[in-house]
Symmetry: C2
Subunit: 334 residues, 2 copies
């Protein structure tokens, strides 16, 4: 083994063992067998997300620790969106061929991932390593319902429901655009926006608070932008008869946005409210709540604010005008 | 959408829905929410494996259906190796940029995967799609113990134990070499070997039979070749004091190998027994069993045969000579 990185699978596994405990109450068999053995509650939630270089992140402004943190954070956010608590995860790690990217690269990546795992008491149960033509991570994460046993899914919204968002809409998009335009230096000028893109903080506490309240009818995390994800919360994408699912009237003012989102839009000549509505990867939670319960839910949920109401009419409006129609699509080639 | 393949994420999800039921008793929420919701037994086993183009498979001789089948089969094999029964899986699918690989490509890939999923009554609970610079699949699979609740892990072998293999050692290696040398035509000349490489059959029934017998002390699946995996079954890789874990004396004759393995070795001038010992991706099960129970276990386990004994001496011998020391390493750059 040279000093520029782990040279063999064995070295790599030893590096993982230095950053992640080998077993836990949830997963008692040490990593390295054919499977992990999990102690499971009767119901679990589970999600898989890919995190690929030059698709989901760039090495030019993501530090190795940012890559490890965010690959896990986007998965934790899916657990939060169900109103659940994460328990463990597995990792498929694609290691680019050729010389190691830097002396401390892999240790820093794993340390960034381990920092978020510790915050949520998450066990890395195992996974797979392979040489590959790109740097990429595939995380599968699972979790358990909160104390009430209730989980939040999409759909089930009713006209009159209050729409809530927990987290800053548009801030990640500002961070992404600033980092793409200005490179790593953007982190000094737009610190909150850059941090929101590089090290998003999944809203686990907010999700648990939402699920605990029976007045909350539906929730999801905003990963493709409000304009693209709100129709999914409303069930419009599963709509057997077009127009059968409800619509929404959004009320967003610039004052409701993070100051850096407003400042970035002013700097670049964009309308901040439209910008926030289109922004992808917010990892904010979006929920619909019975209007009678809205005050109690808003008071009990960290970072929640009302952003509109569910309507019987199927369209989606933003401050009385048709809402912008598209967000972010990782799949699209254009 | 043109006729050469799904053009959008939505088209792709519709194609997946055509091949896989959207929900099941194990996973009742239709795919498409932030997480799947799983009905879980108190103990589950879980594993993640990457399956990447030009690392784990080549499109020049894997049909699309073979790719889908094998990406899932290598994961089912990990469940079989624990003596468990698979329940469900999630899929991270990396879709190469550029024109679709062929008109029916994605449908055939999913059909191959769905055929194996149906054989084992497996639910695809969800996952992630992304454009990527390569065609790749990351499957996470989970399962439950068999009726006895017993699971098989590595280690715990004792001197005198009988070593068993279920499945053909070396046959996949013969298939790999023949396909690499002769291309798709090899499937006609070496049908069993090519099929073992392209469409391996995970040994779920054998794993369940092994786990049901208390005399079986340890098991794993042979994915990197017997020479590399047997030390892991013996616990030599976790050995705190070198020499503390037991060794093994293997007895393998050419007659114990598949006729196509022998024929390929004769054709290429290789020693068939050494060849079988080095062969990777066998997806045979390897187990250690109390010698008193060996006759009953051999009789009860489909495809099992004795291949040697565990020894107090830490070395590994093959027919009385030191065994060849290395198998297959997907991680290695050389």
């Amino acid at each position: 083994m040279d000093h520029s990185g782990p040279a063999s699978e064995q070295d790599f596994l030893a590096l993982i063992d230095r950053h992640f405990p080998g077993s836990s109450a949830h997963s008692s068999l040490p990593r390295g067998d054919d499977c992990a053995v999990l102690a499971c509650p009767p119901t679990m939630v589970l999600s898989t997300d890919l995190f690929l270089e030059d698709i989901h992140f760039r090495r030019s402004y993501f530090s190795p620790g940012d890559i490890g943190w965010k690959a896990l954070a986007v998965n934790v956010s899916d657990i939060a969106a169900m109103g659940a608590r994460p328990l463990g995860f597995s990792l498929g790690l694609m290691i680019p061929a050729g010389p190691p990217p830097g002396p401390g690269f892999w240790g820093e990546l794993l340390a960034g991932m381990a920092a978020l795992a510790r915050e949520h008491d998450l066990t890395l149960t195992g996974g797979d390593l392979s040489r590959a033509p790109l740097l990429g991570l595939c995380v599968t994460i699972w979790g358990r319902p909160g104390p009430t046993g209730r989980l939040l899914t999409r759909g089930a919204c009713r006209p009159g429901d209050v729409l809530l968002a927990c987290g800053h809409l548009g801030l990640v998009r500002a961070g992404l655009q600033a980092l793409e335009a200005e490179g790593p230096a953007a982190a000094r000028r737009w610190p909150a926006a850059a941090a929101a893109h590089l090290r998003p903080r999944p809203q686990v506490a907010a999700g648990l608070a939402l699920a605990a309240h029976p007045g909350v009818r539906a929730a999801m995390d905003v990963s493709d932008g409000l304009a693209q994800d709100l129709p999914r919360l409303l069930g419009q994408d599963r709509d057997s008869a077009p127009g059968a699912a409800p619509g929404a009237a959004l009320t967003l003012t610039p004052e409701a946005l993070h100051p850096e989102t407003r400042a970035w839009c002013e700097h670049t000549g964009q309308d901040s409210v439209t910008f926030a509505c289109l922004g992808g990867e917010d990892y904010a939670l979006l929920a619909a709540c019975d209007p009678h319960d809205a005050p109690a839910v808003l008071a009990a949920t960290p970072g929640a604010r009302a952003i509109g109401t569910v309507t019987a009419a199927p369209g989606i409006t933003l401050n009385g005008q048709p809402a912008p129609a598209r967000g972010f699509d990782h799949f699209s080639t254009t």
